[in-house]
């Protein structure tokens, strides 16, 4: 009863091309372009506003937010003194690398076994549906039970408290997309490899996996963004300041800075900008990854 729409595997990320160049640009095109730029500016304005505030004095933020005098880096100085940005980034990076790598490896193995191995009976199909049920489970329902599990397993207070649920939550969609692609994998290549005496393990990793790289890359991007931005599990399962993630750190800004709005905005900018720079660099892959399953 997977009710998520992402029940349909999608082919590799859609290649975005610019719209065909029009032969003639009339007044309509000029108006359309102007409207499009205006809307984009309005949408981006909140982000620009935060960056602007991060250079304002607290007095100006409260009383003259539109003034452009007295801009300075003082907020950043205070932000750097209070903020443990490096710890936040280190923790989040460890969580993302470990959970995404392990999650993809085990999802790929399961998806391979579910689609490429040959058995009579319906076990494989039934198992695949069992995995896809997870698409309909909202993570919020898992928070308390997972918290109890982490305590029972003695994982509370370690990275594994978050790594295991992160892996579990990404498995259903990984399996959905991977099984979709693996099903279409041409049998001839496999047969040729079997003739050459290739074993199962090499078949999975050396013959088939290299051809699955585009899907795996799409999933990796999607999963890294999920873990990077994840908040509900982090706020529930982390109470040790040395394990704070980026999202968890951001949620504490209001408490940490109280009325020091300038430093708060400087800290927000220090989290925001790296994320936007990375997005700008991998923009096509990120959009393809996040819309995988919906766009084909």
């Amino acid at each position: 009863m997977s009710t998520d729409v992402r029940t349909r595997p999608a082919p590799p990320p859609v290649r975005e091309t610019d719209p065909p160049r029009p032969r003639r640009r009339g007044r309509g095109a000029v108006v359309a372009t102007a409207v499009a730029y205006l809307i984009t500016f309005v949408i981006l304005f909140p982000l620009l506003w935060i960056v602007l505030l991060s250079f304002q004095t607290n007095d100006n933020i409260l009383n003259h937010p539109f003034s452009l005098s007295d801009l300075s880096l003082a907020n950043y100085q205070r932000a750097m003194e209070t903020l443990n940005l490096l710890v936040m980034y280190k923790n989040t990076l460890i969580l993302a690398v470990v959970s995404v790598t392990v999650g993809l490896v085990i999802s790929y193995m399961a998806a391979f076994a579910l689609t490429r191995m040959v058995f009579r009976g319906r076990t494989q199909n039934a198992l695949r549906y069992y995995f896809l049920v997870g698409l309909a489970i909202p993570v919020y329902v898992l928070l308390f039970p997972v918290y109890r599990l982490d305590i029972a397993f003695g994982l509370f207070g370690s990275y594994f408290a978050l790594i295991l649920p992160y892996i579990a939550v990404t498995i259903p969609f990984n399996i959905l997309l991977l099984t979709g692609f693996l099903r279409d994998f041409p049998e001839e290549i496999e047969q040729a490899a079997v003739m050459d005496g290739v074993g199962l393990w090499r078949m999975a990793w050396k013959v088939v996996f290299p051809l699955m790289r585009p899907v795996v890359a799409t999933l990796a991007i999607l999963n890294v963004i999920y873990v990077w931005n994840e908040f509900p599990f982090a706020v529930t399962l982390i109470n040790d300041p040395t394990l704070t993630t980026v999202s968890l750190g951001v949620s504490q800004f209001q408490g940490v800075y109280s009325v020091d709005h300038g430093a708060m905005m400087a800290s927000a900018t220090l989290v925001l900008l790296p994320q936007l720079v990375i997005y700008a660099a991998f923009q096509k892959q990120v959009i393809a990854g996040m819309t995988a399953g919906a766009v084909r």
């Binding site: 909140p46 193995m109 399961a110 040959v118 058995f119």
Partner: protein, 291 residues
């Protein structure tokens, strides 16, 4: 592949994913369901109280408020986010110079951590320090609406922030759909003298029926995941008036530690979310059959 397919190898390859998934996703659902029939609070002995938690919910005003607020956000998503996302996709798929860059920029909010989105919007919406009211003051409007933190406007504001966050995503899906439309149909329509509006009404919208279905289903599931925005913008307050279902469940479970009641709320979150998605799914199917 026949030779290589032994049951032992199959089990070894499926086991890691199967175990982690079963322990961390399936077991928790059963756990929630089980304890939703109890008065589990972690302190006193746990009794099984049947449907008491669900009866309590029916009489809990804060629960109904959270359901209504989730409904408000859903309404904004269905009646503003989807149409606006579609129109923006139509605009950007037309003769706009630099449309690729604009699409990437509009998508940017979807990449930012939701908790950071919440923090950013405090500085737009807060009645005292926010941009909107500062702007109203600057242009001489004396009104001082409580966009967040007041008794009425918060869920609408949260819905609009959700719209801001998702519009690039919705736009991208529609844009891809528009690009898939066969170009000769559009050209034939132009030759027959169809205007932009006619093409939109009689060709693009009907041919994108399936895309509308996908977007609707994605948006419906997405609305039930709104949590960070509430957490950052209002904390559910004042007195739970801006709570959504998920944030109220979180409050009951982790702040008041009524685990039994919290699990009952979790079960309802799961069921209502699944029903809404199933309704969308069935609606899509019927529309497709009708066409």
């Amino acid at each position: 592949m026949n030779w290589l397919s032994t049951r032992r190898h199959f089990a070894l390859m499926v086991a890691p994913a199967l175990i982690i998934y079963s322990v961390y996703m399936i077991y928790p659902i059963l756990y929630s369901l089980y304890y939703s029939f109890s008065d589990y609070d972690g302190v006193t002995a746990t009794d099984f109280t049947g449907l008491d938690n669900y009866r309590q919910m029916a009489q809990d005003d804060a629960f109904w408020t959270s359901l209504r607020n989730t409904g408000i956000i859903l309404g904004i998503a269905l009646f503003l986010l989807i149409p606006l996302g579609f129109l923006l996709a139509v605009l950007l798929s037309g003769r706009v110079r630099g449309s690729g860059v604009l699409r990437a920029l509009v998508f940017a909010p979807a990449v930012i951590a939701p908790i950071l989105v919440g923090l950013i919007w405090i500085f737009i919406l807060d009645p005292e320090i926010g941009l909107v009211n500062a702007f109203l003051l600057a242009i001489g409007v004396p009104a001082h609406p409580q966009w967040i933190g007041g008794p009425t406007l918060s869920p609408y504001s949260i819905g609009l922030v959700y719209l801001w966050q998702q519009i690039g995503f919705v736009l991208t899906i529609f844009y891809a759909g528009l690009r898939m439309l066969p170009r000769d149909v559009m050209e034939a329509a132009s030759l027959d003298g169809a205007g932009r509006r006619q093409k939109l009404r009689y060709i693009q919208i009907p041919m994108l029926r399936e895309t509308f279905g996908i977007v609707t289903a994605l948006v419906v599931t997405g609305v039930f995941k709104v949590f960070e925005l509430v957490y950052a913008l209002t904390g559910g307050g004042p007195v739970h008036l801006s709570e959504v279902m998920v944030s109220y469940m979180y409050h009951i479970t982790f702040t008041t530690q009524q685990y039994g009641y919290g699990m009952a709320l979790a079960v309802v979150v799961f069921v209502v979310g699944a029903l809404a998605s199933a309704a969308t799914f069935l609606g899509n199917r019927r529309k497709e059959e009708a066409s």
